[in-house]
Amino acid sequence: MFKKKVTFKILLLLIASDILETAVHFFFKKSTFGSSQGQVTDLASMSDFLRVTFSSPFLWAGLLTVAAVFIIWSMILSKIDLSVAVPIASFSYILIPLVSIILLHEQISTLRWVGVFFVLSGVILVSLSSKERTELS
């Protein structure tokens, strides 16, 4: 059987995967800057959009990071439940706003920070749910 407990090591792997995941989204967002934004209306403009996007070096940097995330994520999933790993990985919701402010210069309101707090509480609860199961079994 698999160990269900979220250990410190798995937490470190999850943090690493989250930071890389954040980098992936940053690269992908950057890669769409070259194309005419919001102009995808039909199949022709869709293929045009994909061609411009796929020629951006940012997209390829993003894909390379995806490979690294895949390796780390596979190791995580070999140890814990999917229904634990995915919610815990949601603390990228704390990383993403930070990256958006610093690198993309987007605005973050107070309400968003309240939401971030809810996410954080949820992540903690899910982590505890995993420990609780191990103690019982």
Partner: protein, 127 residues
Amino acid sequence: MKQGLLLVLSLIALTSMCDTISQLFLKSTIDSLNFTATHNIIKIFKFIFKLISKPRLWVGFSFSLVSLCVWLVVLSKTDLNFAFSADSMHYIFIALASRFVLKEKMGSRRWLGTGLIVVGIVFVSLS
């Protein structure tokens, strides 16, 4: 703008569903390999190679590819914060799929925690 928002939300639902399906394939493939934790980097890479040689995983990857293409369209239409926050439905899909497809035992704490995350992300998207 309202119509555009609805389109973006449906696209995000589509990308979430495809991603959930690919996660299910990945998790079930990994479970079938019975990999035990190790620090040996060679063993880790052997595990990864064994993993990517499974056809079942590539079925999952094809869903990931669809998910990625749709996600790129979403990102071109909206900002990173909004796109990511509306992606909260992903957690509901994952929880339900883990419970009913993978038969993982979901305790009340786990449901509550997942719910809090979704509420948190909805808050984020309302702002």
